[in-house]
Each structure stands twice: as structure tokens, then as C-alpha cells.
């Protein structure tokens, strides 16, 4: 029994150390890449940034810097792809938004999004206010707050405590419902909605998933798509303005 405990503890310790070592190594790579970027050796910087990502780690700063490096090498598609990834992890960051807007200006295709009803726009903005990680913790926080209040109400008979609980539990419940709903919607979107960026200079969008399909329109580097379905090498895409068609999978990368 005691031996098992020691074994478990040492394994846990080893994992922690390995993780720390990895984090340290990633940190080292990140600093190196940043130095290369400042020396305007963008391609080498990209390689270093990608090394971190390929080891299975990410952060919004990594994606942001990678996007910058791609922008400097004039790879507009990958620049936008990485800015979008960064924005997903940190949706409120001004730098990411600025650079993404700047890159999007150079995309050839101007997709005019039909104006949204203001209520839907408010809801959509609210939905995307926080990253999924923040939402997870917010939901958890309000849940624990509410359950804590309930437990306090049950156990403690002090009049003052009861009064505080009686006032506080309704806002806690409302906030939990709000944040929880957004959280569930976002989890659902995260697993069903896939966005992608076109990475080739030009790709024809066809009416059917084969080479014989009629050319509907063409898309260019950097355009954001929504992937609706896929079949073998082909993916059904939807643009922000509602246009639908099929393109080859190698033309884009999922955000």
C-alpha cells in the first residue's frame, strides 16, 4: 500500500518535471524564434515557431507571432490562419484584431456579409466575448458560487448568513445560466462548426465534388470559409455571404 503510494507520487513528479522541462524548452524555442524575427530572418523564425506547435503546445502569442512571420514572408493565407487561431484563444486582444484586419484587407475576394439584425449581432458578440477557456472557468466559478451558497443556506442557521444567501443566490443563478448557456453553445460550435482559410493563390469552387463540376466562382488566398461537409478529397464550403460550393481539401487548412 505504501509502496504503491510512493510509486504513484514519483510518477506524478516525473510527469510534472517533464512538463516543466518541455515548457522550458518551448520557452527557449520561442525566445530564439523571436530573436530570428527581429533579425528579419522570418523563415527560420517560422521553423522555430512551428517546432513548438509540432511538439503539441500552443498559446495565442505563438500563433500571433507565427502569423506575423508569415505576413512578413508574404504568405497571406497562413498569416490569416494563425491570426485566427490566436484570436480563438484570446478573442479580445487588440493586436491580433489589428493585424488580422490589416491582412484581411489584402485578400482579393471581398465578401460582403449581409447586415445582421442588431439583436442577433449583440448575441453573437456576447457569445464570442470570451475564449472557451475563460468560459469554462466562468461557468465553473458561478456553479461553485451557487452550490456554495446553497450549502451555506442549508448548514448555517445564522440570520445574517441567511440574509446574504437569500440576496445573492438569484444573481448567481442568472449569471450561471447566462454563462453556462454560452458555454454549451460554444462547446457545440467548437465540435460542429469548422472554419478554414484558403492557402493557395486561387481555387475554383465547383458545383459538385468532382473535377467535372461547373465552376461557380473562384476564391483566393486568405479567404475564410466554413466547412459544412466533406467527401473524400472534397469539402463543401459556405462563405460568409451564403455562397456554397465544393473545393479540394488541400486548398485550405482548418483554423
Amino acid at each position: 500500500m505504501r509502496g504503491l503510494k510512493i510509486a504513484l507520487f514519483s510518477i506524478g513528479l516525473a510527469i510534472t518535471f517533464m512538463a516543466l522541462a518541455y515548457a522550458d524548452h518551448n520557452q527557449y524555442l520561442f525566445d530564439q524564434a523571436n530573436q530570428l524575427y527581429q533579425q528579419e530572418q522570418y523563415q527560420q523564425a517560422i521553423d522555430k515557431y512551428l517546432e513548438i506547435r509540432n511538439s503539441g503546445y500552443e498559446s495565442w502569442q505563438l500563433y500571433y507571432n507565427l502569423g506575423n512571420a508569415y505576413y512578413k514572408t508574404r504568405d497571406l493565407g497562413r498569416a490569416i490562419l494563425n491570426y485566427e487561431r490566436a484570436l480563438k484563444l484570446n478573442p479580445k486582444n487588440e493586436d491580433i484584431k489589428f493585424n488580422l484586419d490589416l491582412a484581411n484587407l489584402q485578400v482579393v475576394d471581398k465578401i460582403v456579409v449581409p447586415p445582421q439584425f442588431f439583436m442577433f449581432k449583440i448575441l453573437s458578440d456576447l457569445k464570442n466575448l470570451w475564449s472557451l477557456k475563460t468560459l469554462t472557468f466562468l461557468t465553473l466559478f458561478f456553479y461553485l458560487l451557487l452550490t456554495g451558497l446553497i450549502i451555506m443556506r442549508i448548514l448555517l442557521r445564522d440570520i445574517r448568513v441567511q440574509r446574504i444567501v437569500r440576496i445573492a443566490w438569484i444573481p448567481a443563478l442568472i449569471l450561471l445560466l447566462l454563462v453556462g448557456t454560452i458555454f454549451i453553445v460554444r462547446i457545440h460550435e467548437d465540435s460542429t462548426l469548422h472554419y478554414a482559410i484558403v492557402l493557395v493563390d486561387k481555387i475554383d469552387v465547383l458545383s459538385s465534388p468532382d473535377d467535372q463540376g461547373t465552376e461557380l466562382f473562384a476564391l483566393h488566398r486568405g479567404v475564410k470559409l466554413q466547412i459544412e461537409a466533406s467527401r473524400a478529397d472534397w469539402a463543401k464550403i459556405r462563405l460568409a455571404d451564403g455562397k456554397i460550393g465544393w473545393i479540394k481539401k488541400q486548398a485550405f487548412e482548418i483554423i
Partner: protein
């Protein structure tokens, strides 16, 4: 009397006025005339019908006489209208001209022409004409008719139909719609023709005609025809493309030739005035034979949807000058269609270029050769394309369908597909796409913001906290805690609100405490206290369990109390036995030994446990 007189005058004036107005309104004169009354065979003449009168313009067209006995109708050569107003009187003259060609020799009468106006039929004068076998040397289109002047009616000594005729020859008599055929007109002559003039061009309705340039002086050559040697001059040649199916007739062409004739001299003056070149010149009108062509429709089966209507043999080629370009550099795509057939009719091909290309109207050039067999040549379309955006672009094939005369089938030609690799030009990032707002344009001029240098916290990709076990536990544990809290609360409430419950819950505890105390007194010296303590614990337990005062119970009551609660008699017996032993030992002299006491202690404890189990 005066009044009567007035009436008479009035009636007289009325009648006169009326009659005048009737005469004016009703009178239409119709007259016919011909340009000449002696006409050569196969020559044309003009029949003029003139309507005059102040209402002539309302009379409608006159009915022209039927001259089919000796002439064929060639067509109307026009209408002229002359309106004069003199002193308020309008006079209208309308003349209709009709052209005929004589077909029979002899004397004929042109029947009157008629016109119906206000229910009355007006007829013109009949005209007598004479058609002679060979024409006289008159001006063919004399403006004024010279009806009574006899023509120089001199038969040709050396030339009749056999010696001078015009022959229309076609290369084919059965053709498909749009299949080219060559129509040529040749003068066959055994006499000397010094000059010729075309009177009337052949009627070629239903054909698309392509003329061969013949030059001013036709080439002559000798040919044996019907066993006789002729000088042949081809004066006209055209390629004809029938436009619709059916039987088509190419009408005759009429020419007039000046023929030099060797004549016997009748007098010195004759020869002197007539012909300074020792011969007389006469004008002879000749017409070619009409030619019937059978035009077959193109077969319906296998007709491609994009069939252009062209018949013949064609080749299609296309090429681009470069397949790898930079953006905004022009590419030239040349499509060339060559072959035999109606090259002029080749439509501009539809070029399907990607939307990223700017396409300009093609430059079209034709090159047509006219040969014996028909028309051949080529037509080129030069497109200028300018790619605006980089990428691998595809120019789709151009299709061209025609009916092949050799295999009698439809054929569709296509050009290869061109892949154009467009690379970014040097100004790629400079292209400011239109449709940017002022704010956006300002933004384009700026650079991206600098990278993040602060150490980030790296996380495993795809490691969402909400998918981990810990997250689930954080949700479940508070729920369990709430349940536990509720249970605890209920327990507490029962303890405080229900004395019986509280006593019952505590009975065992107290009983055991007392038993424990009794065990300390387990010696022969303190046996009285020991038994008292056991009795207390037994009675106390009972009191607590049944929520009655232990002090008020006497041993005799115990059995009743327990029986009332349906407790097993064996347990009751056991319990009562213990109580009796206690009572006995408490009041009896100290005789119990230690082993006995220890045994009893165990009995008492068992009794409590047994009761505990059933209550």
C-alpha cells in the same frame, strides 16, 4: 312667280354641280404602253400601266394582263406617282412598270389591264407587239418608246442560237444546306463578240453568294461542245451557299452582246456608214438556261447542340503565346479555323476564361481563297487576356461543330485545355482593391503590429479543461455536498425537534456508557454498586428507547411495556431475567463471586444488544 324662278335656278345649279362632282370623282383613265412593239426573242420589255384621275391614288393596283402565252413575268420595276394641283384641282398620275421577257416568236396582243374603282371596272387599250427571232440593233433600254419605228431587223447570217449562247453551269445539283456550289456563266460563241453587257443578273434568292473577282477582260479559251468548237469566255462565277432546304431555281442571266457580222455589201454607203471595220455590228440578247438545284436538309440525328450551321471541312487550332506569366501581363490566345466552306460565316467562338482574367474583344482576320472547287481559307480570332490574380488558371476548350461533307456526319472539334500558371507580379501587395473605404486605405499603408515577446504559457493543443475528469468532478462533488448537507440538516432537525428520536438515538450510547462504568466496578467488594449500575443501564436504555421516565418504571411494568410493542417474548424473557438478577443481587447479601458477575455482565450486554436489534 319670283319664288318659282328662284327654285328653278336653284335646282339647275344643284344638278350641274352634282353632275360635275360626279364626273370629277368617278373618272379614272387607265392606259398601257410598252417601251417597244418589236422585240427580239429572250429580250425584255417593259409594260407600263398608267392610272390618272384625281382619285387615282385611291384606286389600288391594277390587275396586270396575263402574258404567259409569249412572255414570262420578270418582276415589277417600280411605281411612280405624280400629283399636280392646278387651280385647286388635283390630278394624280400613277404609273406601274412591269418587266417581261419574251419566250415565243410571233405577233401577240397584250390584253387590257384593268382596275376596279368604286365598283366600276376600267380597262386600258390593248397593244399589239411582235416578237422576232433575233433582236434588232436597238438600244436595249430606250427611255422613250418608239412604237412604230421598225427595228433593224437583220437576221444574223453567221450566228443564231447555235453560234452564240450563254450557259449557266453549276458544280453540283444536289447539295446540302450551306454546302458550297460554284455557279459560272460562260459565253459560248462561234462568232466574234466585241462587247457584252449584263442586262439582268441571275436571280439567286435563297442563296448566300460569294462573288469571284473576274477582272475586266474575261479569259477566253476553246472548247468542243456538242461536237462544235467554241470560244468560251467565263464572264461570271460565284460560290453559292443555299440557306434553306428545298428545290431552288437559279434564274437566267441576260446579257446583250455586240456581235460583228460579216455581211454582203449592198452598197458602198452601207459599208461606209455601218461598219468602218468591214463588218456590221449587231446587238444580240441572250439568256442563260435556268438551273434547278435540289437542296437537301442536314440530317437531324447527331446534330450537336452548338452546331454553327457550317458545312464543309474545317480544322480548329488554338495556341497561347505563354503559359507562365506574371499578374497583369497580357497573354495572346489565337484561335484559328481553317478549311473549305463558308469561312465568312464562322461565328466568333465563345471563350470561357476564368473570372480572374480580363478579356478583350477578339481581333478577327479572314483570309479567303477562291478556287475551282469552292471557297477555302481561314479565320483567326486573337484574344488578349490579362490575368489579374495569381494562381493556376484553366482556360476551357473551345468547341466548334460543323457538318463534314466527306463523311456526311457532324463533327465537333475542340481545342486543348490550357493551364496558365500566373505568378505574383512585383506589385502584388501594391494592388489596392477597389471598394475600400477611406479608413481601410489608410490602414493598408500601415504595417502590422510587433510580435509578443513576453513569455507565454504553453498549453497542450486540444487539452480542453471541460473535457477532463477533474472538470466533471468539480460539477459532481458540489452536488454530492448539497445532498450530504441536506441529509445532515435533516438529522440535526430531528435531533432538535423530536425528543423521542433523540433519546432513542442516544439510548444505546448511554447504555453502553453505563455498562462500561459497571465493568469498572467488577469486583467482589463493589458488587452492589455493580448490579445497581447494570440495572440503571438496563432500565435507562428501556426508558430512552420507549421515551418514558426510567425512574417511574418498576420491573413488573417492563413486561407489559415490551409486550405492547410486540417484542419477541424470548428477548423479553432474557431482559426480564437480567433485571430480576439485578433486583435480587442489589438487596441480597453479597454472595456473588467474580466469575458469576462477569457472566452476568455479558448476559446484560447481550440483552441490551438483543433489544436494540428489535426496537
Amino acid at each position: 312667280m319670283k319664288w318659282q324662278m328662284f327654285c328653278k335656278i336653284f335646282i339647275f345649279v344643284f344638278v350641274i354641280a352634282n353632275s360635275i362632282s360626279v364626273a370629277w370623282s368617278a373618272e379614272i383613265q387607265i392606259t398601257t404602253s410598252v417601251d417597244r412593239t418589236v422585240i427580239g426573242l429572250n429580250q425584255t420589255f417593259t409594260l407600263e400601266v398608267e392610272l390618272s384621275g384625281d382619285k387615282a391614288n385611291k384606286a389600288g393596283e391594277p390587275k396586270i394582263p396575263d402574258l404567259s402565252a409569249f412572255a414570262t413575268y420578270m418582276g415589277s420595276s417600280g411605281t411612280s406617282q405624280n400629283i399636280q394641283i392646278i387651280n385647286g384641282r388635283m390630278s394624280v398620275t400613277i404609273s406601274y412598270s412591269f418587266t417581261y421577257m419574251t419566250t415565243q416568236v410571233g405577233k401577240f396582243t397584250i390584253p387590257p389591264a384593268t382596275v376596279i374603282f368604286n365598283g366600276t371596272t376600267y380597262s386600258s387599250n390593248p397593244i399589239e407587239i411582235e416578237v422576232v427571232s433575233s433582236s434588232s440593233g436597238q438600244q436595249p433600254r430606250a427611255a422613250a418608246p418608239r412604237p412604230q419605228t421598225p427595228s433593224i431587223d437583220q437576221p444574223l447570217e453567221a450566228g443564231t442560237d447555235e453560234n452564240l449562247f450563254l450557259r449557266a453551269a453549276v458544280s453540283k445539283r444536289r447539295v446540302y444546306v450551306n454546302e458550297p456550289l460554284v455557279l459560272s456563266f460562260k459565253i459560248y460563241t462561234r462568232v466574234t463578240v466585241t462587247q457584252y453587257g449584263i442586262n439582268k443578273l441571275p436571280e439567286v434568292a435563297g442563296f448566300w453568294v460569294e462573288e469571284y473577282p473576274m477582272g475586266n477582260q474575261p479569259q477566253t479559251y476553246e472548247e468542243i461542245y456538242n461536237g462544235k468548237k467554241y470560244i468560251v469566255a467565263e464572264i461570271k462565277r460565284q460560290v453559292m451557299f443555299p440557306t434553306a432546304a428545298g428545290t431552288k431555281t437559279i434564274g437566267p442571266m441576260q446579257i446583250e452582246c455586240n456581235v460583228r457580222v460579216q455581211t454582203q455589201r449592198r452598197s458602198i454607203f452601207d459599208s461606209f456608214f455601218d461598219d468602218p471595220f468591214f463588218g456590221r455590228s449587231v446587238t444580240k440578247a441572250i439568256a442563260s438556261n435556268p438551273v434547278t438545284i435540289e437542296v437537301m436538309p442536314l440530317p437531324e440525328n447527331g446534330k450537336p447542340a452548338n452546331f454553327s450551321g457550317l458545312v464543309g471541312q474545317f480544322n480548329l487550332s488554338a495556341n497561347v503565346d505563354k503559359q507562365a506569366v506574371k499578374t497583369n501581363e497580357a497573354i495572346s490566345l489565337v484561335v484559328k479555323i481553317s478549311g473549305n466552306g463558308n469561312i465568312k460565316m464562322v461565328p466568333t467562338p465563345t471563350l470561357d476564361v476564368p473570372p480572374d482574367f480580363e478579356k478583350y474583344e477578339p481581333k478577327i482576320s479572314e483570309n479567303i481563297n477562291r478556287s475551282e472547287s469552292g471557297i477555302s481559307g481561314n479565320k483567326t480570332f486573337e484574344y488578349v487576356l490579362i490575368p489579374r490574380y495569381p494562381g493556376l488558371h484553366r482556360i476551357k476548350p473551345i468547341y466548334f461543330a460543323f457538318f463534314d461533307l466527306v463523311s456526311k456526319t457532324y463533327k465537333t472539334l475542340s481545342t486543348p485545355e490550357f493551364m496558365i500558371d500566373v505568378q505574383k507580379g512585383s506589385d502584388e501587395f501594391m494592388t489596392v482593391t477597389s471598394g475600400l473605404s477611406k479608413e481601410e486605405v489608410k490602414l493598408v499603408g500601415r504595417d502590422i503590429r510587433f510580435i509578443q515577446l513576453a513569455s507565454p504559457e504553453f498549453e497542450k493543443i486540444g487539452s480542453h479543461f471541460y473535457r477532463q475528469f477533474g472538470f466533471l468532478m468539480l460539477f459532481v462533488v458540489p452536488l454530492l455536498m448539497i445532498v450530504a448537507a441536506v441529509a445532515y440538516r435533516q438529522h440535526q432537525d430531528m435531533l432538535t425537534e423530536n425528543v423521542a428520536y433523540a433519546r432513542s438515538r442516544r439510548a444505546n450510547q448511554i447504555a453502553m456508557k453505563r455498562l462500561h462504568r459497571a465493568k469498572k466496578l467488577l469486583s467482589e467488594k463493589t458488587q452492589k454498586a455493580f448490579y445497581a449500575e447494570i440495572a440503571k443501564s438496563l432500565m435507562g436504555f428501556l426508558g430512552d428507547k420507549f421515551n418514558i421516565s426510567a425512574a417511574g418504571i418498576i420491573t413488573d411494568q417492563v413486561e407489559e411495556l415490551m409486550k405492547a410493542r410486540n417484542i419477541d417474548p424470548q428477548v423479553i424473557q432474557q431482559y426480564l431475567a437480567c433485571l430480576q438478577v439485578c433486583d435480587y443481587q442489589r438487596f441480597a447479601p453479597a454472595t456473588a463471586r467474580l466469575e458469576e458477575m462477569t457472566k452476568f455482565f455479558d448476559q446484560a450486554r447481550d440483552a441490551i444488544v438483543a433489544l436494540e436489534k428489535v426496537v
